[in-house]
């Protein structure tokens, strides 16, 4: 990767209240290269937004320096900074009655004259920005009629029209539905790769972030930020340390947080494909901890790859069935009683299907 576009040196971020400094995160030496996708992760209130706002120049650092393209951020004029750093905030964008394309064109602010007139080149940049987020069909729509996901995509187009080298996004997916979240995450990834943009985003979508980040900045409540590739941070336990509480645990297999299940009955699932995945989900919902070693498991499930048939071994009992409803019911009884449950009977309708 090429040289860093943003670099911090012993940066401390936080708030000033009545001349008193309230540091939130300190001693940060971070760097981002062009084309790099960085996710900032951490529990609420740990200072992710403060860090991002400070990097974006919307808030002054308490100590330390931020270098953007080798220049000190505090010495860059706001017009020039806007050509280096674009920002997407977690607040919903509501601009009133503007066409989506007009909203995107607002991103040209730092490139055009006082009268706001767009040159043919500006129009071309705006069109390319809308293409990049694949929103050509939305360009002529009134901003008030856009869904949250569409609005956020066009907001991203606005930032692209700004032609920055870095895009900083504070929880851009916060109010989006699941498919819009995944779409936006993929879009950011593509923008970083194809446009050579440095992208720094905070999110609570742990698994999406861990799957899509080139680097992760993990802000943990111990007031430090660990940086690294997602895999390294998972392997050295940093992710688990940052997110695990008395009641919640990080699972490095699913890359998700789960309700802590130390006392939970242990089960193992033998099988492949969809069947095994669904059986895992069903058992986890019933409170089981899923492990891969058969020896440790009290409940062993063998399941067909397509999920059509299952067989359960529990304390010597051997039960089989053909629906997940029956599997769940069996697992629930087995977990409660700790005894071999009576043979599960499929509901007639499901049996007919199986």
């Amino acid at each position: 990767m090429s040289a860093a576009i943003i670099k911090t040196a012993r940066l401390t971020v936080g708030y000033r209240r009545r001349r008193r400094r309230q540091p939130i995160l300190g001693g940060l030496s971070l760097s981002v290269a062009p084309g790099e996708m960085v996710y900032v992760l951490g529990p609420n209130g740990v200072g992710k937004s403060t860090l991002l706002r400070t990097l974006a120049g919307l808030q002054r650092p308490l100590a330390g320096r931020i270098l953007v393209d080798s220049n000190d951020l505090s010495h860059i004029r706001s017009f020039d900074l806007a050509r280096l750093i674009g920002v997407v905030l977690s607040e919903r964008v509501s601009v009133g009655a503007l066409l989506a394309r007009q909203m995107v064109a607002l991103g040209r602010y730092a490139h055009i004259g006082w009268d706001g007139r767009l040159t043919p080149h500006d129009h071309e940049v705006v069109d390319r920005a809308i293409e990049a987020v694949r929103a050509e069909h939305l360009a002529g729509r009134d901003c008030r009629e856009l869904s949250d996901g569409e609005g956020q995509r066009l907001n991203l187009a606005r930032v692209l029209a700004q032609e920055p080298a870095v895009i900083i996004l504070d929880e851009p997916t916060a109010f989006l539905d699941l498919s819009s979240r995944i779409e936006l995450t993929a879009l950011l990834r593509r923008l970083a790769r194809e446009h050579g943009l440095a992208v720094i985003a905070s999110t609570h979508d742990l698994d999406l972030a861990l799957r899509n980040a080139d680097s992760v900045w993990l802000a943990d409540p111990g007031r430090e930020v660990r940086c690294g590739t997602p895999e390294d941070l998972i392997l050295n336990g940093a992710v688990a340390k940052a997110f695990s509480t008395a009641h919640v645990q990080f699972s490095s297999e699913s890359l998700c947080l789960h309700v802590a299940a130390d006392q939970a009955p242990v089960a193992t699932v033998n099988g492949l494909g969809l069947g095994a995945r669904l059986a895992t989900t069903a058992l986890e919902r019933e409170g089981y901890r899923i492990v891969s070693e058969v020896s440790a498991a009290a409940l062993i499930i063998n399941i067909a790859d397509d999920g059509s048939r299952w067989q359960a071994l529990h304390r010597g009992a051997n039960v089989s069935g053909t629906s997940f409803a029956a599997l769940a019911a069996f697992a629930r009884r087995a977990a409660m009683v700790g005894e071999p449950a009576a043979a599960a009977v499929d509901p007639p309708s499901l049996q007919a299907k199986g």
Partner: protein
């Protein structure tokens, strides 16, 4: 290209508004308590002698300055309202919320009601005993005194909503002083105070217009020159800053411009109700856009014509003398705001 339909509509609406404004201007010269034939008015305006000398005075010294005052005041209040609504991102914002009007009221109250007290006597004597010029001067001073702390605070805080609240609270506090003055004043003084409070475009003389007009034109020019930052502020101050706007400078410039507009109008015409809030909503509903490059001219034209129409209605309906202008603007303004709010969907308010 996208947006051509919007441009067409904007041109159509703006031309329509221009025609309405011109018609309202002509009408406000034609209509008055004395009936003057149209051809005579034409003669007067083209510099010829009318049949009766008094007609020339009525048209030249009363109707023409009155029409110009209404035209400028309507545009000024509308622009000040638009600037406040966009910058504070609040549909109900207008010059009143910054305490400008309250400050002007206090200035006027000090002159009108304070005459007789020591301070009032000195002030009044120095300015020709509570004459119109003294009232205007007091209103401008009052508006500036009320605005200064609000501006000073708003330069330091980061949140437009905070500015709004501070302005409102300041307005209430200033109003309390006005009440003190009202309590201790004579019946005659009260009458004068109340009639100022009715608002009026009448009685602004040519020499006063020579001060009134340039100040308002400066204020309007500030808004006209800042359509680009106003559009950026549609996204909110944080986004506007991230796109390169110097938010504090813009806020100071806009607040100063708006307070010149509102302060000067209040000084010469009294506290005109409702136009400041209503006109931007009317302009947005007509043009169907929040783009300030369309909204600023639309607000100027809609404000001018609404003010002149209100003036005409006040004249025609109030047979004897005149209906208080504020009664008319409120009766016209309130239903307009209600209709606009009910007809437009979510987001119509913002900017």
């Amino acid at each position: 290209m996208v947006g051509r339909a919007g441009t067409k509509r904007a041109i159509f609406v703006l031309s329509g508004l221009l025609i309405v404004t011109a018609a309202a201007f002509v009408l406000s010269i034609l209509v008055g308590s004395v009936a003057i034939p149209i051809d005579q008015i034409g003669a007067i305006l083209t510099g010829h002698e009318p049949d009766r000398a008094s007609w020339a005075i009525i048209v030249g010294e009363v109707r023409l300055p009155r029409a110009l005052t209404a035209l400028l005041a309507g545009a000024a209040l509308g622009i000040a309202g638009l600037q406040m609504q966009t910058m504070l991102r609040n549909p109900l914002a207008d010059p009143f919320v910054l305490g400008i009007t309250s400050g002007a009221s206090l200035g006027v109250a000090a002159v009108v009601l304070g005459v007789g007290t020591t301070a009032g006597a000195i002030f009044g004597a120095g300015l020709g005993l509570a004459g119109d010029a003294a009232i205007a001067a007091a209103a401008i001073i009052g508006a500036l005194l009320a605005l200064a702390p609000v501006l000073a605070i708003s330069a330091r805080v980061n949140n437009p909503a905070t500015v709004l609240i501070i302005g409102l609270m300041f307005g209430y506090a200033v109003q309390a002083f006005v009440t003190f003055l009202v309590v201790g004043s004579s019946l005659e003084q009260l009458q004068r105070w109340i009639s100022w409070g009715f608002g009026s475009f009448t009685g602004v003389t040519w020499p006063q217009l020579a001060l009134f007009a340039p100040l308002l034109l400066i204020g309007i020019a500030i808004a006209g020159a800042s359509t680009k930052p106003l559009n950026a502020l549609l996204l909110g101050e944080n986004y506007a800053r991230s796109m390169g706007l110097n938010a504090r400078r813009m806020r100071l410039l806009t607040l100063t411009g708006a307070s010149i507009l509102a302060g000067v109008v209040t000084a010469f015409c009294g506290p005109i109700a409702f136009l400041g809030v209503a006109i931007p909503h009317v302009a947005r509903a007509l043009t169907g856009t929040s783009d300030h490059r369309v909204l600023v001219p639309a607000v100027i034209l809609a404000g001018s014509s609404l003010a002149m129409i209100a003036q005409i209605v006040a004249l025609v309906v109030g047979r004897d003398g005149m209906l208080p202008l504020n009664a008319v603007t409120s009766i016209i303004g309130a239903p307009i705001v209600i209709v606009v709010v009910l007809r437009t969907r979510r987001g119509a308010f913002v900017g």
